[in-house]
Structure formats: structure tokens, C-alpha cells
């Protein structure tokens, strides 16, 4: 029973949502819309599970005085402060402490982490773009042409040549044809994978995500 009920629910809900796509009848689409909203609420409610896990892991770390337990205090304190400012006695409006902490701590930290990619993309290119085989050669040549074609210096290199020999034109051509053809192929194949997996989920063949029997 513990397994059958969720599987039956999955089947019914999945089938209904599948059918919704083809049925313009208002009663079906209204119900489907309602259920989609339920999904967002389930996800929103789940955040508490995540935060619970976070607290548990860091609390144990502090209690056992494991390596770096001091940093765990940072995490828990930062979270508590955010909750305090955003709680029922605080406000999340523009200009509030909650908003300030978000804008001046989370935003710069996240965008700086993001910008680390500029360094990593260079180091990855250095060590990985090696002419080990013909295929690797193609990867390398395509990357170099596109990189050159996107900056002014690259444009200057081939300025005098006829249009169809300039780097910007080559870049554009590579992006529009071989690149697009390959990506369409990957997407099409992956789409079949998604659909097969979706079917298996609805039919209850794929159920690893539900975990164990007990």
C-alpha cells in the first residue's frame, strides 16, 4: 500500500497533465492550472526540509567541534539574522535591512562567484585544448576562430579580405550551421530520452526517486 498509493497518484496526475495539452476544454485546463500551482506550493514548502538539513549538519559540526566548526556558526548566524529581519516583526520591502543584506551580501557574493568563470575558462582552455586527435583539433580550431571573430582585434586581422573570408563571417557561419545542427541533434535525442523517462515515471516503472520500501 505504501508504494501503490503514491504510484497510483503519480499515474493519474501524470496522465491528466498529459491529456491537458490536447484538450482545450476549459474545465480541463482550469483544473490543470490549479494543479500546477499546487506544485509550486509543494516546492515552496519543501524549503523547510532543506533548511532543517542545513541546521542539523552545521549543528552537529559545531557540537563535535569538527574542522571548521567556527564557519558553521557564521552560516547559522547569517541565516538567523536574515530570518529575524524578514520575519513577522520585520519587513522585506525595498530599503529594509532584509533587502540590504540581500543586495549587499548575497548579490555581490553570487556575481563574484559567477565572474570566477573568466579565470576558469582560460585555465580550462589552456590545459584541455590539445591536438590529441582529429576531433580535438576540430574543437580547438572552431574555438579559436570564434574567439578571434568576436573581438575587434580579430576583425582587424582580416579586414582587407572579401567578406566571406573574414573572421566575423566565419564565426557567424559556424554558429548558425554546424553548431546549430549539432545542438538540434542533441536536443532531439535528449527529447526522446525525456519522453521515454516521462512515460516510465507515469507507468510507475521508474520509481527510484521515491526511495525505499520502508
Amino acid at each position: 500500500m505504501r508504494r501503490e498509493i503514491p504510484l497510483a497518484i503519480t499515474f493519474l496526475v501524470g496522465l491528466f497533465m498529459l491529456v491537458d495539452f490536447f484538450v482545450p476544454h476549459h474545465s480541463v485546463s482550469a483544473a490543470a492550472e490549479e494543479m500546477k500551482q499546487w506544485g509550486t506550493i509543494v516546492i515552496a514548502a519543501s524549503i523547510l526540509l532543506g533548511v532543517g538539513n542545513l541546521i542539523r549538519v552545521h549543528y552537529r559540526k559545531i557540537r563535535r567541534k569538527q574542522d571548521g566548526w567556527g564557519y558553521s556558526i557564521t552560516t547559522l548566524v547569517a541565516m538567523s539574522v536574515m530570518l529575524y529581519f524578514g520575519g513577522p516583526w520585520g519587513t522585506i520591502a525595498e530599503g529594509s535591512a532584509f533587502n540590504w543584506m540581500f543586495l549587499n551580501m548575497q548579490v555581490p557574493l553570487q556575481s563574484t562567484m559567477f565572474s570566477l568563470l573568466a579565470f576558469f575558462i582560460a585555465s580550462a582552455a589552456y590545459r584541455a585544448f590539445r591536438l590529441r586527435s582529429a576531433e580535438a583539433g576540430l574543437l580547438l580550431v572552431a574555438a579559436i576562430i570564434v574567439m578571434l571573430g568576436r573581438v575587434p582585434l580579430g576583425q582587424l586581422l582580416t579586414r582587407g579580405l572579401p567578406e566571406k573570408a573574414t573572421l566575423p563571417w566565419l564565426t557567424e557561419t559556424i554558429m548558425t550551421y554546424p553548431n546549430m545542427a549539432a545542438f538540434r541533434g542533441i536536443l532531439m535525442g535528449a527529447a526522446l530520452g525525456v519522453m521515454a523517462m516521462g512515460l516510465r515515471i507515469i507507468l510507475g516503472i521508474e520509481r527510484s526517486y521515491l526511495g525505499g520500501e520502508k
Binding site: N53, M113, I186, M188, L192, G212
Partner: protein
């Protein structure tokens, strides 16, 4: 609800804009104010009524029956005759006896309107009048009309047809596989690498890091990842190698807990399961990436497995992992991130390989049958593309148009 609401908003915006256009037309004479007032004769003559009005169900067999399409002929005074039609009033009513309410004010020169958000299937009476700013013409009516409530959207027939073909293929091959037919599945290089990587981590006495992406659990890549996780967890349980699973979504975290616990139980190592190793880090993309980088440098996993949906954090993780000296295997169907995994990891499962991997690992006939079905669907797709190209070349476009559903 949200979509209905948005449609309504858009419709309201269109209606306001048309209304405004009508008002603008009306306001145009104001510019001529320089003409002495007494020269303008007071308009007491109503414009001639518009010509025949027709109403019919919009998108006859394709929608919920809540839209009606109207066409009329211009009033003889619109752009000709006395040339003073400023616009039209469209009236709608639920009964023949009253004109009802004005549903739209339309600018002169317009002969077409779609009335939306009606009660599906209900009968409506429409009438239209022309007005010149002061006077309104006689009304022109038409036969009552009702939207047809449809149960099937015919413009999506091609989608349903191919979907049924695909499901059919998957189910047939699954049955064949269950009956015991031997199915060949080609080697997927990245998969063997997973086992080697876990093996090496065991030899070195260091943990295995498994990142199930930052997709939500409704992302099929995440589900595929959980299937692969179950397999990986069984190996680590057998070898008693610690398995760290950082997640960016709370639901994925709890599903991962279940999957790993179950795997440890199945191999008879329930005590080796450490709940502290399945961690929720952060919903924020780069906070998550930063924290995973921290794990790589401090807990020094010898094998990093990235399976699932990744965005820009892919290279951030893979480069740090490389620097930390781990063997790395990635798998994703995110085309924009594949280039980075391919360059920075030792092996990468690309696109469909990620989905195929779960079938391959389990060696369950049911799942292998699905793979075979997918392959045949590729044959069907290729055949349709080639056939379409040939027919297109010969000038028959109807066939290809059947596949243009938007």
C-alpha cells in the same frame, strides 16, 4: 489560472489600445481648432449604418469555445460619403431583445474583431453601430452565435500521432525484452568510468562526491540522475567508501536521502549510511557552487560525479575538481554546458546518454526495451526529415506544414 489571467490582461491591453486608437481618431479634429468656430456646422446627421455583420466561432475546432470572431462591412460614410465615421461600437447581449453592452469601440476602417473570454458554448447576440463623435447610426445585427467547446485541439494532431507511435515502440520493445529477447546496447564510455572512479576513490581511502545538478525534481535530468545515484550508492556501500551528495533543492535532497538509504539497505550495509553526507546547501546557484568547491578542497573526494541539469556553475565545479586532483565524470543534457564538461572532465555523458545510462546500469529488460524504442523513433524522425526535405524540394509543402504546430 495564471494563464487565463494573463490572457485577460493581454486582451484588456489590446482592447484599451483599440479604444484609445478610436478616441485618438475622434480627437483628431481638435487640431483644426484654428478654423473659426462658426464655420463648422453642427453635425446632426447620423452616419450610415455599417454593412452586413457576421459572427462565427473563432478557431472553430481548436479552442475552448470562448472566443467569437466578428466581421462587418464599413459604413458607406467611412472613408467615403460624408467621411465622418470616427469608429464603431460593438454590442453584445445574451438575449435577442436587448442590445446589451458595448464590448468594444473600434476605430474607423476596421472590419474585424475577436471577442475573447466568453462563457464557453454560450449563445451571444451581436450588433454594431457606426458613430461620428456625436451621433450613432442604426444598429446592424446578425444571427446568434455560440463558441464550440472542443475536446481535442486538431492543430496538435501531429504531436499526438507521433507521441503514440513513440509510446507504442517503447512498449512493444519493453514487452519483447521482458519475454527474454537478447537486446544489444552499445558501450557508453562514461559509464565504465564511473565504476573506475569509485574504485580509485576506495583505493585512496577518499570519499566520492556526487552532484545531482541544480535542477528541481520536476526536471527529468534530475530523475535520471537519482537513478544513477542509486547505482553509485550501491557500489560505495559495498566498498564502504563515503558518498557525499550536495544538493541545491530541498526536494532533491530528501529524494536523494531515500535513494541512498535504500541502496545501502539493499547491499546489506544500512549502518554505513551517513545522513550527514546528503546535504542541502543553497537554492542560490553560486552560493551552491561556492559551497561545493569548498567540499572539494576540504574533504578531498577522489571522484567527482556531476549528473543532471547544470547551468553556468558547471565549469566552476569542474575546474576546481580538476585542480583538486579528482577523477571527474559528468553527464548532462544541457547543450550550453556540454562544451565545458567535455573540456574539463575525464568523461562526459552527452544528452541522451544520460537517460540511457540509467537503463544501461540497471540492465533491467524493461528499461533496455525503452532504449530500443527510442532508437526506432530516431529512425522514424530521420525518415520524416528526409521525406520532408525531398517533398519540399519537389514543391509539396503540405506534408512539412503538418509539423508546424505553432
Amino acid at each position: 489560472m495564471k494563464r487565463t489571467w494573463l490572457t485577460f490582461l493581454a486582451a484588456a491591453a489590446v482592447a484599451t489600445s483599440l479604444l484609445g486608437a478610436a478616441v485618438a481618431q475622434e480627437a483628431a479634429p481638435v487640431v483644426e481648432e484654428e478654423v473659426p468656430r462658426e464655420d463648422v456646422p453642427l453635425d446632426t446627421v447620423a452616419p450610415a449604418a455599417p454593412g452586413a455583420l457576421t459572427a462565427r466561432d473563432y478557431l472553430d475546432s481548436n479552442d475552448a469555445g470562448d472566443k467569437i470572431e466578428l466581421d462587418w462591412e464599413l459604413s458607406p460614410d467611412d472613408g467615403a460619403g460624408s467621411c465622418d465615421v470616427a469608429g464603431y461600437f460593438l454590442w453584445r447581449s445574451r438575449s435577442a431583445s436587448s442590445p446589451g453592452e458595448i464590448v468594444a469601440e473600434l476605430p474607423s476602417g476596421q472590419t474585424h474583431y475577436v471577442d475573447r473570454n466568453l462563457e464557453p458554448g454560450a449563445e451571444y447576440f451581436y450588433s454594431i453601430t457606426a458613430f461620428d463623435g456625436t451621433n450613432e447610426s442604426a444598429a446592424v445585427t446578425c444571427a446568434p452565435v455560440a463558441g464550440r467547446v472542443n475536446l481535442f485541439q486538431t492543430s496538435r494532431a501531429s504531436i499526438l500521432a507521433l507521441m503514440l507511435v513513440f509510446f507504442g515502440l517503447v512498449l512493444v520493445f519493453t514487452k519483447l525484452a521482458e519475454r527474454g529477447d537478447e537486446l544489444f546496447v552499445r558501450r557508453i564510455p562514461g559509464l565504465n568510468a564511473i565504476e573506475e572512479a569509485v574504485g580509485r576513490a576506495t583505493e585512496m581511502g577518499r570519499p566520492v562526491l556526487y552532484v545531482p545538478g541544480i535542477g528541481e525534481i520536476d526536471n527529468i535530468m534530475t530523475i535520471a540522475s537519482l537513478t544513477i545515484l542509486s547505482h553509485v550508492a550501491k557500489i560505495t556501500a559495498r566498498y564502504e567508501t563515503p558518498l557525499i551528495v550536495p544538493t541545491a533543492r530541498a526536494v532533491v535532497m530528501s529524494a536523494a536521502e531515500e535513494v541512498v538509504k535504500q541502496a545501502y539497505t539493499e547491499v546489506g550495509q544500512p549502518d554505513a549510511y551517513n545522513p550527514d553526507n546528503i546535504r542541502y546547501l543553497s537554492d542560490a546557484q553560486f552560493a551552491f557552487a561556492g559551497a561545493v568547491n569548498g567540499i572539494m578542497l576540504r574533504e578531498k573526494p577522489a571522484a567527482n560525479l556531476y549528473m543532471g541539469a547544470f547551468w553556468a556553475e558547471s565549469l566552476l565545479l569542474a575546474e576546481t575538481g580538476f585542480e583538486a586532483g579528482a577523477i571527474q565524470v559528468a553527464g548532462t543534457a544541457m547543450v550550453s554546458q556540454l562544451p565545458f564538461f567535455v573540456t574539463a572532465c575525464d568523461f562526459t555523458l552527452m544528452g541522451e546518454e544520460l537517460y540511457a545510462a540509467s537503463a544501461y546500469l540497471s540492465r533491467e529488460p524493461k528499461l533496455l526495451g525503452g532504449l530500443k524504442g527510442s532508437d526506432w523513433m530516431k529512425v522514424v524522425t530521420i525518415a520524416l526529415v528526409v521525406l520532408g526535405a525531398v517533398l519540399n524540394f519537389m514543391g509539396f509543402e503540405t506534408f512539412v506544414n503538418w509539423f508546424r504546430t505553432q
